[in-house]
Symmetry: none
Subunit: 421 residues, 2 copies
């Protein structure tokens, strides 16, 4: 089965936003087992959307079209699909009722123009809107199909997983495809792509003959490098067994560089290490200005193990709130003092602190990119490490966050902190 992706939006053609939906959908289609040979982008013009849809349907069995489902006059994906189907648009009272409910819940007046979003091509199936006001559509065109999804990434992703994947699986099963493709990602941090490739080389050589599973690397910027294992098999159980076996072999080669699997983030890895030991954390942040805290509270249940953060951007507040002694504040001593101060002020078991120079200028004779991470442990032990980070202000800050969290994670694992408590 061949399915293309068509992204609608003049802002995509003009390069005002990047087509991230195209990349996400391409990845998901491959994981479902659907071939996708072409993608297209087209502007908000009905004739051209129709042409792009017809081109895609001529080359394949289906299209996922994203965008152009909003309430304004240039949102015309609905009209274009109806034209390709040779169908009329009709007003759907159920869709309208849900739009009304969404506006009522937000206490906002409902503009008349939103009625456009309740127009559905005759013969199309509605994918109920749950996160935004635009419903999705499953539109048969003969034996082929057009899936219409909103352009807002999180709305699109939720609808794709809830409604499009099951529909694609049914169509694949009708074609006699019952195999499964499963993949698993080992998340690594603190190791370069070439070093990773060297360590993993024995596994890649061993697998090349069989060709299943396969191993691929994927750089993810500051979030480290992903090692993706992909297995094809007749059943879920068989595929998972292949993945389990390969994961174990890779973990042997990579050790502590692996911080989690699949969607696991560094903050979740830290949360797990803290939770396992029954410890709670307090932060003091200078150079990162609250970024570490904001990543930690993104973990559901963070209140169980996270006390808070003292973002002491001004030097005076470092002294007043954290008891940092006079002297340079971009130093290992200040980082340790901040960690101790955070632990005490926030009533935490573990204190973690960051102080440094994001740039563009240096400070206290330290070049931009110099960051000190301080740690205070429950037994009173303190330590600090110095980082030299590349890049501009934002990159230094982002790298500081993940470096500090990885430092905490590795120290907790090494020291078996709290394991006897």
């Amino acid at each position: 089965m061949r399915v293309e992706v068509l992204a609608v939006g003049t802002e995509l053609l003009l390069g005002q936003i990047a087509n991230t939906n195209g990349a996400w959908l391409g990845e998901q289609l491959a994981l479902v087992g659907v071939d996708s040979h072409f993608q297209q982008v087209v502007g908000d013009n009905q004739g051209r959307i129709v042409l792009a849809l017809r081109t895609a349907l001529a080359r394949g069995d289906g299209v996922v079209v994203t965008g152009g489902l909003g309430p304004t006059h240039d949102d015309i994906t609905r009209e274009a699909i109806a034209e390709v189907m040779g169908a009329e648009l009709r007003f759907d009272p159920e869709v309208w009722a849900r739009i009304e409910a969404i506006f009522a819940a937000r206490g906002r007046a409902l503009p008349e123009s939103n009625r456009r979003q309740a127009m559905v091509p005759e013969g199309a199936r509605v994918i109920e809107q749950r996160l935004g006001t635009a419903p999705g559509l499953i539109c048969p065109v003969g034996l082929k199909v057009v899936y219409a999804l909103p352009g807002v990434p999180y709305e699109l992703q939720e609808m794709f997983e809830r409604a499009v994947v099951p529909d694609l699986r049914e169509r694949l099963a009708a074609e006699g495809f019952h195999g499964v493709i499963r993949s698993r990602v080992l998340r690594t941090w603190g190791i370069s792509e070439s070093a990773l490739a060297e360590r993993v080389a024995p596994r890649i050589e061993a697998l090349d003959a069989a060709g299943n599973p396969t191993i691929a690397f994927q750089a993810s910027g500051i979030e480290g490098i992903k090692v993706r294992v992909t297995a094809k098999a007749a059943s879920d159980a068989e595929a998972l067994a292949l993945l389990d076996q390969e994961e174990a072999a890779l973990r042997d080669l990579l050790g502590d560089a692996v911080f989690g699997l699949d969607g696991c983030t560094m903050e979740q890895a830290v949360a797990e290490e803290l939770g396992r030991r029954g410890l709670c954390l307090g932060l003091a942040e200078s150079v990162t200005g609250g970024l570490v805290a904001s990543r930690l509270v993104a973990v559901p249940g963070a209140s169980q193990w996270f006390r808070g953060s003292l973002v002491t951007y001004a030097t005076e507040t470092k002294v007043r709130l954290l008891g940092v002694p006079p002297g340079p504040v971009v130093s290992a001593e200040a980082a340790e003092a901040m960690a101790v101060g955070a632990r005490r002020a926030l009533g935490a078991d573990v204190g973690l602190a960051l102080t440094g120079v994001a740039g563009p200028e240096g400070a206290e004779d330290q070049p931009p990119g110099t960051v000190f991470v301080g740690l205070a442990l429950p037994d009173g032990q303190t330590s600090a490490t110095r980082l030299r980070l590349p890049g501009d202000r934002d990159r230094v800050r982002q790298l500081s966050v993940i470096s500090a969290l990885d430092y905490l994670r590795r120290r907790l694992r090494q020291d078996r902190v709290g394991s006897s408590a």
Copy 2:
């Protein structure tokens, strides 16, 4: 003149990398004054690249194709273009000499496979390679044209500017086009797309007859909605005059909903309001866990007006560090007390505080998405506002940040705080 963009690479279809070249080229083509109605992505398959090129040439006057010019066996863009031109590939000794020189300069052995990169379709013009080993190509197809550029972004950008832009300008001049195109973005927040459309309707109607400048809306997720004005004119000065005039008319209709222009962020708008009044800010954050602070410190020079943030995630720390009285902490009273506490503890002129429920569960009988923003001003005045925000945990948090910053911005403007100080 209409020119499409075609990106070649199976890794783009599989979503392993995002098609950033497409976005960049789309923006550049628009700035040159070329219409671009479609973009395509295709994998490393000769038949499909040929089909995509023919589709693009049938719809327009030219194509910029990127990628597939490397030395390996799956780099087949050259072969596909030769097929579309009906031409043979011939070995170009000059191109080869430059590849040899590049390898020699890096002290590397030159693999035989690189000879592929010196193959040029008969009748094509070579764009000399300066940063990488792949040359670009300008390939006439009748009166139409295919530009082939490497997929490496910085190589592509250098060649596009050096060789493709001049060629496009020549073709445009032959069509009688000599003008410039300029655009300006008004950044808005706190107004829905449909309400915005209603308010701006008089300008859109007035302009529709002339068709210049044009106005377009662009939702930017939590960052609000952009109103983009685009003007064509004979000179830069004329284009800027049109933009100035339209900006003034739109500001009259939109008032305080406009927080800045072009790349201006909400935190920069806040920084400007604070800076203009000589005020410094201190934060207390609960639900946003440091996110507000992290956005503020991203503004260069933040230490001039930003003192820090007390991220009091645990209730106990709200009491201890901020002096919040006993009682519900998801309340207007707690938000105001937090703002007062932040102002005092951090020695700031203005205190801003956020407390709320990000979800997924509610708390203190408040549903998820309930957030209170508290404000304490230099004259001792305090105020608070309640937000009801949609979406999941992350979205509630992101919306809280920008809502709170916008609340602060508007209050500073309304109250003319500090203007008499």
